[in-house]
Symmetry: C2
């Protein structure tokens, strides 16, 4: 008798974005002429930079010639890309990360889910609230939680509220936790962590032998000089943290697919018999057994992110979206909306006007403004009463969206 | 205290192919002038067909233009590809598979590993012996086995020998099993299953409420008319089987990455409380939560596999490798080697001459013939005394390899 994994049945119906999609489709069917502007899902809208497409055309030409064709590549990624990443994102910034501590993958969503394979079921897991739903759902699927309560909080997980009240700074857990997800610049709140804040977490992890799963997918949007771009800027973090990075949001790879994970060789976990053991070879084994590497063509595209031309073009892309974020932020503030984020991140996180619920505001914005955003409560119980707008859109749409938003709330 | 997943520590040191790589590197360092011919790993050598590269260049151009740029696609794959697959590989062959029963992914290795997420830990799992190591290793990682014995067999798994003695036809398990891996055309033996054999398995699965995980990655190499290309050619298989297919070996996508899994909507498993439940929505949830879709560019390439020009070019590719397989087969037979496979598969499976062990023969072939193959024992205890040669190579290399092989064994 083939048994299913019962833990899947604990998952709350519908991942957030499919539910948004359902409501938007329903609205569009009823209002076929409405010009709906979507600031919901954090999906890029600008085309791939030419430095990248040129590199990919060229790689594609290699794949069509006998002499230069490539079959299976290394599961962990080609040396040219691992090296470009380690050098540009880390060593050139004074962070000592070796090429073979970089694992190239097809997405940070996949990586943050897959990393759980290397950890035992008995770890106590902490997430912030609100949080990127994938961290929670993948732990539910793996069996690290009980059932969800009425607020959608799963038994066994430790939720750390990040709200206006604590300045969006998660408090250190009062009980010891083993795995901690941190995401900075934060999705969904758009807020960042200072060096001091991250140091508190690294110290906490050292003291409690915890491991931090650090999602830095939005690192490229950091504009303030003193905000850390990598957790490894904090001394000792290499002993306690895994970092996730992505080409999705800097180079516009959401539909192209490439990301990477940093697993330092000094990072250790414990076996159930209490022995310290390195995580790096375990993740390497996982990666080689359940993954077959990213397309050569795509890896050449990702490499071009680090060329002089690529860097310049990506800086322009980022600036474009950051200006969108600024327009959103200022446009909302001008009509009295309280707004967070949008300075070091492509997201603005606003308090719903009049204290309406997140989903009520979603419906109101869709019906009256033909605007789509993301309900804060979709990211966790503490996100109730908040709302996320994404700066990933055309300038024209952002300007129009601000006007419509202002009309809806005025 | 962060705990690792102890099950990883049960894994035998080194996945098969890394161990081969290690020995080959060592040999090449000691013999830098040796022209080593590799017939080991099943990796394609011919360039991508032009129908495919043209489609990908064109998709890349779309990605570089505002009007046609694509961000996140559907996690399950674009409709254009799901539909092309379901129509060409199934419906046009009289098999009723719906577009949305197709899940596009980045590889069959990934899929055969990831599918385990949707099944409970208490399933009894059967594999053939020899077998593609990923089926076993991913079950070990997930915790469905005990330790390995001296022959490398993990406690708790059911191993079904496929050897010369039973004509490479796995016997139905004497004890009920819940999940059964079958791979046809078979890797590593190159043998195929008749309709009658598959029907026995489907009947067994129906009787025991088991699920068959059917790996048909080498389907394109089937030359004999009456050999099933899909398990769904067997009536009732849609109630008991998941099928894995890949573009790696037909279209040469080992370095390009695209595959798919068929999860029929009629397929059910049981919850631990004994209720029947559909697998399709569970896999869909898994796919959407832990995967983010295949690159748009690559999916357009995969779609071109089904164009008239694409079909023609792929038929030529397959014929090229099959002729290689024939040359290997006949060349080995002519010096008295017993050979299986190589007719409906790109692999020939030979008995090591003089009864030497698989690894001894590996070393002998490498040292005396500068040839790399794959030791049968690397695929399981019952593979001891066998050896796999892959037909994926240039014609020139295959002809030269046959000569060298003949010299070594004469």
């Amino acid at each position: 008798m083939a048994l299913i994994n019962d833990h899947f049945l604990k998952l709350k119906a519908g991942y957030l974005f499919p539910e948004i999609g359902r409501r938007v489709s329903q609205f569009c069917e009823a209002n076929p002429d409405a010009n709906v502007i979507k600031l919901g899902i954090g999906d890029v809208t600008e085309p791939l930079p030419t430095a990248i497409t040129e590199a990919m055309h060229s790689a594609l030409n290699e794949m069509s010639q006998h002499e230069t064709f490539r079959g299976y590549g290394p599961e962990q990624g080609y040396d040219f890309l691992r090296s470009a990443i380690a050098r540009n994102d880390y060593r050139d910034r004074g962070i000592d990360i070796a090429d073979d501590e970089i694992f190239v993958s097809d997405g940070s969503k996949c990586d943050t889910g897959n990393i759980l394979d290397v950890f035992g079921l008995d770890n106590k897991v902490a997430v912030t609230d609100p949080v990127y739903p994938v961290y929670v759902d993948t732990n539910v699927m793996a069996g690290r939680t009980g059932e969800a309560d009425d607020d959608g909080r799963y038994e066994g997980l430790v939720y750390i509220p990040v709200t206006e009240e604590n300045g969006f700074k998660p408090a250190l857990p009062s009980e010891p936790v083993d795995l901690i997800y941190l995401c900075y610049p934060n999705n969904p709140t758009g807020t960042v962590a200072s060096k001091e804040t991250l140091k508190e977490w690294v110290d906490y992890a050292k003291k409690n032998d915890s491991i931090i799963l650090y999602d830095a997918a939005y690192e490229a949007f950091i504009t303030e000089e003193d905000i850390p771009r990598s957790i490894y800027e904090i001394e000792g973090a290499k002993d306690v943290a895994i970092e996730f990075r992505s080409f999705s949001k800097n180079a516009g790879f959401t539909g192209t697919r490439c990301a990477f994970t940093v697993v330092p060789k000094t990072l250790k976990g414990k076996t159930s018999s209490g022995e310290l053991t390195e995580i790096h070879p375990i993740w390497n084994r996982r990666h080689c057994t359940k993954f077959n590497g990213v397309s050569y063509i795509i890896q050449r595209g990702a490499e071009a992110v680090y060329s002089d031309e690529g860097k310049k073009q990506i800086a322009e892309l980022i600036q474009f979206y950051l200006t969108n974020a600024q327009l959103l932020r200022e446009g909302l503030e001008s009509v009295g909306i309280t707004v967070y984020g949008g300075v070091n991140a492509p997201y603005v996180w606003l308090k719903t006007p009049g204290g309406s619920t997140s989903w009520d505001f979603f419906d109101q914005l869709l019906e009256k403004g033909h605007l789509v955003g993301t309900p804060g409560s979709g990211f966790g119980a503490s996100g109730e009463g908040y709302f996320r707008l994404s700066a990933f859109n055309s300038r024209e749409n952002v300007i129009e969206a601000v006007k419509r938003f202002q009309n809806v709330v005025s």
